[in-house]
Symmetry: C2
Subunit: 315 residues, 2 copies
């Protein structure tokens, strides 16, 4: 049975996820795509509520993103951070001056009692984004990393301050059990005829989303293609600590480990052409060039992925 | 009886007050000067705790101040505000990017439960200021302006958003009754052998300070020179709405009205040379060039003022 792609839901983290989201948004009309974003990395810094993955996806889809870093705003300045240094602070998290507007806007709206989902919709609409970008939940969820060297660390302290160098022993997602799916996330998944998991870090970016109460059940309830893209290519992470972390947790650094990690959540898996001969436990498999360097790469990949899904027999 | 100026206390507001504070800080060693600053103008904006008068005095004494405006930081940029406009906000209060560091630093420290006095000391020390700059109180006090056109307005809405154009009918200082003098303010006044009131707006900048519980009594308990400098020169305000406001409140726009407003709080008054023939009800009076255009003017004025006070017989 072939499927349509009238309602595609993509679960995404930061930079890698934003690339897939960008490609999908170029290929699908606004009503056919919902991007659900990890907020387990959210944290407070200088009193601001910062949502790194939401911002990366938002800046990427609006075209504001810094193309070199893949996050932050192109040409942004750091006058505030330099002035903070003058006040005796040693900044470790980069906050551009333009970027600050997003954090201030969000922080104030949250303080007024508005929901992160509604705030995100206003921010994305103001920046000309027509596709829906949804936080995975409106409730606070915090990824906590247990490290050999420092014990438990808040995610950004591990990831940015210590540049993911500490040895990871475990992970937990504080608040995930009490967090609930929003009406918007639930409704998008309920209508989904394709569910995608971006080539984001499975443990750091996707696991917090799967930990939100109701998320696994909502995904499993959909008898549709549920396809993850491997973030591991040729034994390495495309970006970030995925490979290092897998090794530290005692896993083999392989797409097969990623597919096993997602288990019953997925029924299809995409590996890079470099890994086409590697065995992976999955009902449906596609192989493609998954390294999205240019904007064109992203569009080509998204098109190919959707074409494969619509041609495959998912009966 | 001549006096010494071993412990000078100056009550100051924003730009006009900062000029006197600057002159005094050039003339007096750190241990001989305490600058007490109005915080009735403090407000929250984008979730930030902004203390305009504290910042103006701090930036002026540290040399960071924008010399054209007399407030804000020289050469500061507005990337955040421009990005805020992109998010659909219409900024009406200017917040420079460097300036933001001060607001973020203060807001976060207050949220952590630190006192405004302690935070201000850290900020000023970081910027190389050796003289004590104290907020008038650690408690929240908000100047509320009653206007003919809009009814009651928060101070900054009246002052900045409406550019002090609404007709003023009255004023109140919300929280002033419950506010208390800090140990630092009380101690500085107790040791003061000279008390100065800067040529700031008596109703908008000085009155909130006098409204703090215990402030009047503390000042009156000091049998020392208590000298105010007229912000009204030749029938006009040197800067800002003082003259307009006096007319709206039904007062004659004259230094004599200012001296009457301070009443028993002062026993000495300084008028500009342009007003030397105007009668003023005061026990002691000095006349000088009070228009402090250049940094040199401020130092000359501060020197002259202290010289006069030390030579005058206050018995």
């Amino acid at each position: 049975m072939a499927v349509t792609a009238d309602h595609v839901v993509a679960l995404v983290g930061g930079v890698g996820g934003a690339k897939l989201a960008f490609g999908l948004a170029r290929v699908l009309p606004p009503e056919a795509l919902t991007i659900i974003v990890n907020t387990g990395d959210d944290f407070r810094h200088y009193g601001l509520h910062i949502s790194p993955d939401l911002d990366t996806v938002t800046y990427t889809l609006s075209g504001l993103v810094d193309p070199v870093n893949g996050w932050g705003i192109r040409g942004d300045t750091t006058a505030m951070l330099e002035a903070m240094r003058r006040l005796g602070d040693e900044p470790w998290f980069r906050l551009g001056d333009q970027d600050l507007a997003t954090h201030l806007y969000r922080t104030q709206a949250l303080a007024e009692g508005q929901k992160l989902t509604a705030i995100t919709r206003r921010i994305t609409a103001s920046l000309g984004i027509l596709h829906a970008i949804l936080p995975m939940t409106d409730a606070p969820v915090a990824t906590i990393v247990d490290t050999l060297e420092f014990g438990e660390l808040p995610f950004q302290t591990y990831f940015v301050r210590h540049r993911w160098q500490p040895t990871l022993r475990g992970l937990r997602f504080e608040g995930a059990e009490k967090a609930e799916l929003t009406h918007e996330v639930e409704s998008a998944i309920r209508q989904a005829d394709v569910i995608l998991i971006a080539p984001s870090n499975p443990w750091l970016s996707i696991a917090p989303m799967l930990a939100v109460t109701g998320m696994r059940r909502a995904l499993l309830s959909r008898q549709v293609p549920r396809v993850a893209v491997s973030p591991i290519v040729a034994g390495q992470a495309v970006k970030g600590p995925a490979a290092k972390l897998m090794a530290e947790l005692g896993f083999r650094v392989s797409p097969a480990t990623v597919a096993d990690f997602y288990g019953e959540i997925i029924n299809g898996f995409v590996t890079d052409v470099q890994d086409q001969d590697l065995p992976v436990q999955t009902a449906h498999r596609w192989t493609a060039n998954t390294i999205m360097m240019s904007e064109r790469d992203r569009v080509v990949f998204a098109e190919g992925l959707l074409d494969w899904i619509m041609q495959e027999d998912w009966a």
